[in-house]
Amino acid sequence: MQTASCLFEIAVFAPLIGFLTAGMGGRIIGDALSQALTIILMLIASVAAIGALMIEGQVGMVTALVPVADWIQAGNFHVAWGLRMDALSVSIVAMVCVVSTLVHIYSTGYMAHETMPRFRFFSYLSLFTFAMLMLVTSNDLLQLFFGWEGVGLASYLLIGYWYTRPSAAAAAIKAFVVNRVADLFFLVGIALLYVEFGTVTYDDIFAMVPAHMNDVYHLFGAHRAMEVICMLLFIGAMGKSAQLFLHTWLPDAMEGPTPVSALIHAATMVTAGVFLMARMSPLVEFAPMTRDFIILIGGTTCFFAATVGLVQPDIKRTIAYSTCSQLGYMFVAVGVGAYQAAMFHLTTHAFFKALLFLGAGCVIHAVHDEQDMFRMGGLWRKIPLTYVCMWIGSLALAGIFPFAGYWSKDAILDAAWMSPAALGRYGWTMGCVTAFLTALYSWRLIFLVFHGKPRDAHLHEGAHESPISMTGPVIVLGFGAVLGGILLAPHYIGKDQVAFWNGAIANAPGNNIIEMMEHAPGFISLVPSIAAVGGILIAYVCYILQPAIPGAMARALRPLYLFLLNKWYFDELYDLILIRPYKALARVLWKDVDEGVVEGIPEGLARMTVASAGQAVRIQTGSIAVYAFTMLIGLVVLLSTMLFAH
């Protein structure tokens, strides 16, 4: 056990050391050394994390706390800085470390021709990893929030890595601001939780859940406090996990370098919301209304993102929307109470999404930073390795047996079907439709990029396979995408799940959804797979057999096409109802209130004082008669005051 905590500490703090050394000393030690150092530290962290997972697995995933330091001691409010070890944190730490290491290695190849300082990039990557590890290893909501904000900061820095590009800077700010909106709710949620429970430490909160079951909180009418808290926490999660209404930052985040996208979408950042819900499962279990809301948002996001993904011309944006969509699945699982399934999908998704992004990066690298799929085509002979990996990733994403996604996605859909929740069937329907759409846009991507005739001969000519530093990580992830599901399924959701989670995820006494989903009707279990295969076939017809069909459809259904192409006009809507009024208000406050009133009053007062000084000395004429007269006036005034006041 001692070894496990020791390894765990190494896994968490090695990225921090990497960040500090590369970040502070990068200018001195240079790009190459910073790069090597962060990668070595990430490798150490990965080995340590896997070691910790192994040992924890052997001792039965007991919950343990590795104390690090005291943080806040104010009155009877104590917050310690510690690393919580249980199935949830140990498994995610291992996943994050491995994916992050692969991304680090991949970046050496991808960023090789970069002119901006690379030490900065690598130190940010390590910071990103460390922040995520802080988030998942937290033992209380405060530390979780620290990691939560750290992730937000690192994402801002990385999305805006090419800060000289206006679009990248704008995307970074957008990500930061949208997340800040959600974080406000999250913070209020934490505060409310503290007010209700008097603590922010997980174990204390969870122990007190029964006592506060029926607390009422008054906000626009009486609500159960539990519902309000969970709703606020979920809105926080919606921001990080890019759920509908707060998703707009995610596609724009593609402005960052591709390895960053892989990291954001696979291991760090977007999964934080799902993790939060799983971590707070003992609370969420007792907020049925919130859970229905989660299903609604999750299912809708799932469908929305997939439809948008169908028409995007940009290879990275297509994959970005698929992440959005897959996160919707995870929230559907959370909503029906199958947190284990959500975590399972999170893990498998990490592998195949990292694979897809890194593969897309190889494609982009091959065609010299071209991202428009309509200018590619016929690349499979040029870059066969990437081609195979993209196939594997897409099969996993579409949920084709026996690839990773099949296991986790089917589990979620079965759970949704079997769930007694009111909206369970809605989640299932949306999930199945999306399964079809997912396969359709995945193979649209593959067919457009790799098959058919080269649309741009020049690009096609110059295409070449990426160096081993890039293909290596892709291949490793490929194994994960193939085997991840089948290997992990028994532990995450299968027969060993109770022993594996060992209380890290709580199901309420009446909630046996994990067991029930095993008994889903056979036909129902088959629907997603059928839908996926259908999607692949349609894609084959549309993009290989009859390439004219998509264009004809786009022309025939032009309004719908534009609606999808413009992402359901969310950006335009927000611009209209939020950004413009806000800017107008800011302008008024700046020009009129600040420059006018706030500066004007003191300046006016100062001018008035100086002017009155000029007036005041005018009576100072030098004439004795005036002086004596003034004295007499003063005498009369004082006399009158004295006599009339009494």
Partner: protein
């Protein structure tokens, strides 16, 4: 009768006469320097004697000695000592370098001491006139300069008017009570249910006469002209000891005999205080001459000091006394800097002459900056504590309007004080001033230390002021 009560005054008077004789018979060289040193010695000896005189009332109840009198006398003597010291260094070049100068300061100081110890309205008046007459001469001391002559004449004419008003007030009060003695007055006022109008008018006249000496608005008009026209060292003296003495009698009369009429006179003090603070702050902004600026500054300071008096509580009196202590020292320090503003022997008084002092004479500039910040009331300098105590007393006496206006005017005041600092450190340098004599540097450094380290002396000063304030009520 205990004649030792007035021993310091007797010693000072005899010393004054002796120095005068010495100055007249001394023929070989200009006796200015030696007479100044003798006067300073006399101040010192008198100061020591003041500390050891017993409490009591003597000389047919016209002379009082108590903690309050001692406190005020020590302050007066300090002011006189420092003002004399300021002139010493210029023995040969200054227009005031005649041996009568220190003697006049000495007699004026004697007058202020009499005022502080007055037990009778007539003692008050005689002390005031002794002090004032000496100052009239001092103002016009550089009699070949038109400005100085004008200043002396102006002060004399207006001062006579004020003395007349004061005397008229005293007469009215006598008409009411039949006595000039404070104790008798107090009994008479306390024993009368409905106060006659004549008494009230008398009090107002006395208040006006004393306000003139304080240069409180609207009886301040002489101040800028006289301050500017008089030699700088005379101005330094005038801004110190006489003001302290005027406050001494004002407090002694108003808190003592007329202490039962607080509700009647408080409003007048408030009005004068408000007018002084506001006018002092605002009018100073327009000044280009540093001595005129200091005149308005002292008008403002008198307003703040009166704020404590308006509270009419022992706490308020203590605040006023502490304010006067801080005012005296930072004011002397600032004037030491002004006296040192000389180029090729000629006195410079424009504010713009100070430009670049931070480069040409950093030590002097730093000292001036300290005095300016202190006068603006910036913590932890001396001026802050004075303001703190009077504001505190005003708030505790529920004089919120007065305190609010005080805060407001001290903000405005900060503008012109800090402007001087700005001129010294940020404007382009002019030619350097003459090297100041050691005595001036000594005063600058000494007062700078007092101003900076007042926080250390605050406890003892506060205790002494508290004792003095209590003594007034007995």
């Amino acid at each position: 009768m205990n004649w030792t009560l007035a021993l310091p005054e007797i010693v000072l008077a005899i010393s004054g006469l002796a120095i005068l004789v010495f100055g007249v018979v001394q023929k070989k060289e200009n006796p200015f320097f030696s007479c100044s040193m003798l006067a300073m010695a006399a101040f010192f000896v008198t100061g020591v004697l003041v500390l050891f005189t017993p409490d009591g009332v003597g000389y047919n109840r016209i002379f009082v000695n108590d903690d309050f009198a001692r406190f005020m006398k020590i302050l007066s003597l300090c002011g006189a000592f420092l003002a004399t010291m300021m002139t010493v260094g210029y023995a040969r070049e200054m227009e005031v370098a005649k041996f009568e100068f220190p003697v006049l300061i000495l007699f004026s100081t004697l007058g202020t001491m009499m005022m502080a110890s007055s037990g009778n309205l007539m003692t008050l008046f005689v002390g005031l006139e002794l002090s004032s007459l000496a100052i009239y001469i001092l103002c016009a001391f550089a009699r070949d300069q038109v400005r100085a002559a004008e200043a002396g004449l102006k002060y004399f004419v207006l001062g006579s008017l004020a003395s007349g008003l004061l005397l008229y007030g005293i007469a009215l009060v006598y008409g009411f009570a039949g006595t000039l003695e404070y104790g008798g007055l107090q009994t008479a006022v306390a024993g009368t249910a409905a106060l006659p109008t004549g008494l009230m008018i008398g009090i107002v006249f006395m208040l006006v006469g004393l306000s003139f000496k304080l240069s409180a608005v609207p009886f301040h008009m002489w101040t800028p002209d006289v301050y500017q026209g008089s030699p700088s060292s005379v101005t330094a003296y005038m801004a110190g000891a006489p003001k302290i003495a005027a406050f001494a009698v004002l407090l002694r009369v108003m808190i003592g005999p007329f202490g039962h009429m607080t509700d009647q006179w408080r409003l007048l003090i408030e009005l004068v205080s408000i007018a002084s603070m506001l006018f002092g702050s605002i009018a100073a902004i327009a000044q280009t001459d540093i001595k005129r600026l200091m005149a308005y500054s002292s008008i403002g300071h008198m307003g703040y000091a009166m704020m404590g008096m308006a509270a009419a509580t022992p706490e308020g009196t203590r605040g006023t006394l502490i304010y006067l202590v801080t005012y005296l020292f930072m004011n002397v320090g600032a004037f030491a800097g002004i006296v040192a503003m000389r180029r090729k022997g000629f006195a410079m008084t424009r504010i713009s002459d100070l430009a670049g002092l931070g480069k040409t004479a950093p030590g002097m500039a730093a000292a001036m900056a300290i005095f300016m910040f202190s006068m603006a009331g910036a913590p932890p300098l001396a001026g802050f504590f004075g303001k703190l105590m009077v504001f505190y007393a005003a708030i505790n006496a529920h004089l919120y309007v007065l305190a609010a206006i005080g805060v407001l005017s001290s903000i405005i005041g900060a503008y012109y004080y800090v402007r001087i600092v700005k001129v010294m450190f940020f404007d382009t340098a002019e030619a350097a001033f003459d090297r100041p004599p050691v005595s001036l540097s000594f005063i600058s450094v000494g007062m700078g230390l007092v101003t900076c380290l007042f926080v250390v002396a605050f406890g003892p000063v506060s205790t002494a002021a508290q004792a003095a304030a209590q003594a007034l009520l007995r």
